[in-house]
Symmetry: C2
Subunit: 215 residues, 2 copies
DNA sequence: GGTCACCGACCGGAACTCGATCATCACTCA
DNA sequence: TGAGTGATGATCGAGTTCCGGTCGGTGACC
């Protein structure tokens, strides 16, 4: 059980696209469409995103958008999922580079990954803001934090030797908090107020600290 | 400065409706429309709510909806504001009935009020979920927690004698957290898992505890 | 009688469909 | 081995449907 098991553990690649791509150009198309959607969201926001805008920006036609996504919401959901996946990969990279020995250090890896995405990925903050809106219609309301908390707890127990008792549940709460607070921080200040970010880190670490000490 | 000053302090009744009601039946209409909207949201969700559904359920015509609300978002925003107002009134009721002497007791009054609304008001959870989406387009992104944190801090300082230093900012964070966690609890379990609610209460109280002790 | 409240056909535009067309691939056979 | 050839994947965009929002006309109140 290593850090990079997190990706396979937390990602259930449920059918986001309508037709699985067969030819190579098709996968590129999907990526292009999602990039376009990301840019459109960053520019006009979630509410004002139209499928026509996405198509035009991707240099595709409306029909192509609907070939890959059942409806407008699914485009947003796929964007969200891709963002979540990138968060996981960045987290794993940070974890493997840092080799944390405490829960506190490990959490910092995750928060750094999230902050980096908020900073660099256009539309990421917006899509996180509305994740809970868009996703329920697609995969039944399972919030991202719930998907990651279980595998993450297992890995922390294995790698850090912390007490696993109720850890998954506390991680779920901690991640929900961190998500909400980071989104809030980036909504208020698009560059991300360092004080707000540090406050979030401290708050989450503080919340989880007793569990780490118990190890 | 008493608890019920909270309502006037936190509610800036900005123009939600298009034409202020003059005749009595008109106010009833607005309430009926908002009730209908609430029911529709509970049934099909925010995204799928159409103004036609609201009109039909309220026994009114499309035109009537648009007589009172400038657009679809405004209907949702008004619902949100009414929910927020009800939250404030319920909170004040709890505060005046309990006469709290500690920050912890006071926070419990607020959380109980919120939980009660999640339980009894159809669509309240959904609208809280998307409050941050719907409101920015109407009043410039001022989240509810920001509106309430200032007045609440002032009242707590006056009534409980706690240290007011940075209290408003910490209350803002605490309320953002509590809101996110309660919404999460009610999304997962529409009846509201008592354990999740108690965890939220404990978490928020714990976060604010140092401030209370410093008094 | 004048204003308030209400209605619902109508309009513009956005979501989404569908049949036609083009691109690619696996396979064949000279 | 490589040009030919269906089969199927991928793309297109005009057309359809549906929804948000308007507006002029008709009753309800004072």
């Amino acid at each position: 059980m290593a850090f990079n098991d997190l990706i396979s553990g937390a990602l259930t690649t449920s059918g986001q696209v309508r037709n699985e791509p067969v030819q190579a150009r098709s996968s590129e198309r999907i990526a292009t469409l999602l990039d376009a959607a990301s840019a459109v969201v960053a520019e006009v926001g979630i509410e004002r995103l139209t499928t026509a805008m996405v198509a035009e920006r991707a240099g595709a036609s409306i029909g192509t958008v609907y070939r890959y996504f059942p409806d407008r919401i699914a485009v947003l959901a796929a964007m969200s999922l891709r963002g979540f996946e990138r968060f996981l990969r960045a987290s794993v990279e940070n974890l493997e580079a840092t080799k944390p020995t405490t829960l506190d250090e490990a959490i910092t890896c995750l928060i750094d990954a999230a902050v980096e995405l908020h900073r660099t990925e256009p539309g990421f903050t917006s899509i996180r803001l509305s994740d809970q809106i868009a996703l329920p219609e697609v995969d039944g309301g399972t919030a991202s934090s719930a998907r990651i908390a279980g595998p993450l707890a297992a890995i922390f127990v294995a790698e850090l030797g912390v007490d696993g008792d109720g850890l998954a549940e506390r991680l779920d709460i901690a991640l929900t908090m961190a998500d909400a607070l980071l989104v809030r921080a980036f909504v208020i200040d698009p560059k991300g107020d360092p004080a707000a970010i540090e406050a979030t880190r401290a708050l989450v670490a503080g919340y989880l600290a007793p569990a780490g000490a118990r190890a």
